[in-house]
C-alpha cells in the first residue's frame, strides 16, 4: 500500500562513499596547492630584495630551521606548554560560558541586565585586558588564564543563548506535550535543539581563546615556561627572524589543525545528524 512512500530520500550520505583514499586526496590537494602558492609568493617577495634576508628570510632558510627546531624538541615542548594553557583556559571558558549562557537564556531579568554586556565583552580585544590582568595577578599563569577565559567565555555563552533563542517553538511545545519538564526538558529538548549553534559558539570561542593566549604569551613571559609566544618574543629581541617565522608557522598550523580536525568535524557531524546539511552539496 505504500507505493508512493516506499522510497524515502535514498540519497543519504552513506550512498556516496567512494574509496577512502580518493576522498582524502580530494580534500587534501587544494590545501596542498594553497600551501605551494603561499610558499611561492613568499619566495618571490624575498627574491625582490624588499628587505635584507636577515630580517625577512625566505622559505629555504625558515623551513630547515623549522625542521631543526621541531627535531630538537624545542618547538614541541613550547607547543605543549602553550596548548596546555589553551586547553585549561578553554575548558574553564566552556564551563563559565555554559553557566552564563544558560542563566541568561532562561531569565528575562538577567538577559536585559547582562545580555548586551556579553556581546560587548566579545568585541573587546583581549589584549586590552592584559594591563589589568598583570596588575591583578602579576606576570603569572593566572594572568594568562584570566584573559583567555575572558576572551572565550562570552562566545560560548552567546552560542548557547543564540541556540536557545532559535529553537523552533513547535519543538518546545512538542516536548512539553510529551511531558518533558524541569531537568528532562533541558536534557532532552532544549540542549539538543540548541546544539548546532552551541557548537558554532565553541568554535568561535576556540579562535578567541587561541588569540588571547598568543597575546598573553607575548606579554607575560615566564622564564621557566618557554611557550610559543615566549619564543616569538625572544626571537624578536635577538633579531632571530628564522626562529620567529618558524614559531609563527607552528602557531598557524595548530590553529588550522584544531579548527578543521576538531570543530570542522564536530560541526559537520552535528549538521548532518540534524538534517541541516545538503547531502548533495555537503
Amino acid at each position: 500500500m505504500d507505493l508512493l512512500e516506499a522510497e524515502p530520500a535514498a540519497t543519504g550520505p552513506e550512498n556516496e562513499t567512494p574509496s577512502q583514499g580518493r576522498t582524502v586526496w580530494n580534500a587534501t590537494w587544494p590545501k596542498l596547492g594553497a600551501v605551494g602558492v603561499v610558499l611561492l609568493v613568499w619566495q618571490i617577495v624575498v627574491w625582490t630584495g624588499w628587505k635584507p634576508s636577515y630580517l625577512f628570510p625566505g622559505p629555504r632558510e625558515v623551513l630547515p630551521r623549522l625542521w631543526h627546531d621541531v627535531m630538537n624538541g624545542e618547538l614541541l615542548k613550547a607547543s605543549l606548554i602553550t596548548m596546555r594553557r589553551g586547553v585549561v583556559g578553554y575548558a574553564l571558558a566552556i564551563i563559565i560560558g555554559i553557566g552564563l549562557g544558560a542563566a541568561v537564556s532562561q531569565s528575562r531579568i538577567l538577559r536585559s541586565a547582562i545580555g548586551s554586556l556579553i556581546t560587548g565583552l566579545q568585541t573587546m580585544p583581549s589584549i586590552a585586558w592584559f594591563p589589568l590582568a598583570v596588575l591583578l595577578f602579576q606576570a603569572s599563569e593566572t594572568a594568562i588564564l584570566f584573559v583567555v577565559v575572558l576572551g572565550a567565555a562570552p562566545a560560548v555563552a552567546n552560542g548557547l543563548i543564540t541556540g536557545v533563542d532559535h529553537i523552533p517553538p513547535i519543538l518546545l511545545r512538542a516536548g512539553k506535550m510529551m511531558g518533558a519538564r524541569g531537568f528532562a526538558k533541558y536534557r532532552h529538548v532544549v540542549f539538543p535543539a540548541a546544539l548546532p549553534s552551541f557548537i558554532g559558539g565553541l568554535k568561535q570561542a576556540w579562535a578567541f581563546a587561541w588569540r588571547s593566549l598568543m597575546a598573553g604569551e607575548l606579554i607575560v613571559i615566564i622564564a621557566t615556561r618557554p611557550s610559543l609566544g615566549a619564543r616569538l618574543q625572544i626571537a624578536r629581541e635577538f633579531a632571530d627572524s628564522e626562529g620567529m617565522l618558524a614559531a609563527m608557522i607552528v602557531i598557524l598550523m595548530i590553529g588550522i589543525a584544531v579548527d578543521s580536525l576538531v570543530f570542522g568535524r564536530l560541526e559537520r557531524a552535528v549538521r548532518r545528524r540534524w538534517g541541516l546539511l545538503d547531502p548533495a552539496g555537503g
Binding site: E5, P8, A9, I170, M177, M178
Partner: protein, 258 residues
C-alpha cells in the same frame, strides 16, 4: 445552534465527556492590544468521539486545542479533561530532528515513565501500527512528509494519551497521501478507542473523518453551528454524501466569514 443529521448519533451524557470547555473565553495581550481569540465556547468531547473543528483562519481553532492540551489557560470559563492524558499533533510533524524516528518514540515512552525494557517492543508495535516498520533508524529529514506525520502519530500514541488533539495534521500533504492517512487514522481511532479532536480548514476532510463537525466563526472564535455526520463508515472523501454535507457546511462557513 442547529443540529443537523440524525440526533443522538453520538450520545454525550452530562458529565460523561472526555473533555469539556464551559463558557471559555481567551484573550491574548492586554489593554488596547488585547485580542479576544475565542468567546464563550462551550463544548464537550465524548469518550471515543471523533470531533472535527472547522473554520476560517483566525477562528481560534488552535487556541481551543491548546486549551484542552493545557498549553494555555483560559481567560474565563472552565476547561476540564477527564479522559486521561492529551497528546497534541501539529501540522509540522515536530519530530526532534536530532533523534531517529525510533528514538523519538522511545523518548516519548521514557518521558511517560515507561520502563526501559518495554521501549523496544512498544516502539516496534507503534511503528508497525503507523506502517513504518523498518524505518526506526531513519532521521526525520530522510522521510517524506506523509511518513513524518505517521511517525508523529506514532509518537503521539507513545505518549499514552487517551485524547488525541490534531492541529491541521495533514494540511501540508498532497491529496493522495492525505487520503491514505485518513484511512489509517480512522483505523487507529477505531482500534484504540481514542477520543480525537481534529482541527482543519478543509470541510471535506472534517466530514470524511468526524462523528461531529463544529463550525467556528472568526474573530472572535465562537461556535456557529454543529453538524452530526451520520454517513456510515468507511467513508470516501469523494462520495456524494460527504460532498453534499460538505457543501452545506461550506455554505454556512461562507455566511459566517462574510
Amino acid at each position: 445552534m442547529s443540529v443537523q443529521g440524525s440526533e443522538g448519533h453520538v450520545a454525550i451524557a452530562q458529565g460523561a465527556a472526555a473533555a469539556s470547555l464551559g463558557g471559555v473565553s481567551k484573550t491574548f495581550g492586554r489593554g488596547e492590544h488585547a485580542v479576544l481569540a475565542i468567546d464563550n465556547v462551550t463544548l464537550d468531547v465524548g469518550f471515543g468521539e471523533f470531533l472535527c473543528l472547522v473554520g476560517a483562519s483566525g477562528c481560534g481553532k488552535s487556541t481551543i486545542l491548546n486549551l484542552v492540551a493545557g498549553l494555555e489557560n483560559p481567560t474565563s470559563g472552565t476547561v476540564e479533561v477527564r479522559g486521561g492524558r492529551t497528546a497534541l499533533m501539529f501540522q509540522d510533524a515536530a519530530l526532534f530532528p536530532w533523534l531517529t524516528v525510533g528514538r523519538n518514540i522511545e523518548l516519548a515512552l521514557r518521558l511517560r515513565g515507561v520502563e526501559r525494557r518495554h521501549w523496544g517492543e512498544t516502539r516496534d508495535a507503534l511503528l508497525d501500527l503507523a506502517h513504518l516498520s523498518g524505518l526506526a533508524h531513519k532521521r526525520p529529514h530522510e522521510l517524506s512528509g506523509g511518513m513524518r506525520q505517521r511517525a508523529a502519530l506514532a509518537r503521539s500514541l507513545a505518549q499514552q494519551a487517551e485524547i488525541l488533539l490534531m492541529d491541521e495534521p495533514f494540511g501540508a500533504l498532497d491529496a493522495m497521501t492525505r487520503d491514505r492517512l485518513h484511512d489509517e487514522l480512522e483505523r487507529l481511532w477505531r482500534d484504540t478507542g481514542l477520543s480525537v479532536v481534529f482541527v482543519t480548514h478543509n470541510v471535506r476532510e472534517a466530514v470524511r473523518l468526524g462523528d461531529r463537525v463544529i463550525l467556528l466563526s472568526s474573530s472572535p472564535g465562537r461556535i456557529a453551528e454543529e453538524f452530526f455526520v451520520d454517513i456510515p463508515r468507511p467513508r470516501r472523501i469523494d462520495s456524494p454524501e460527504v460532498s453534499a454535507l460538505a457543501a452545506r457546511i461550506t455554505d454556512s462557513l461562507r455566511f459566517e466569514s462574510a
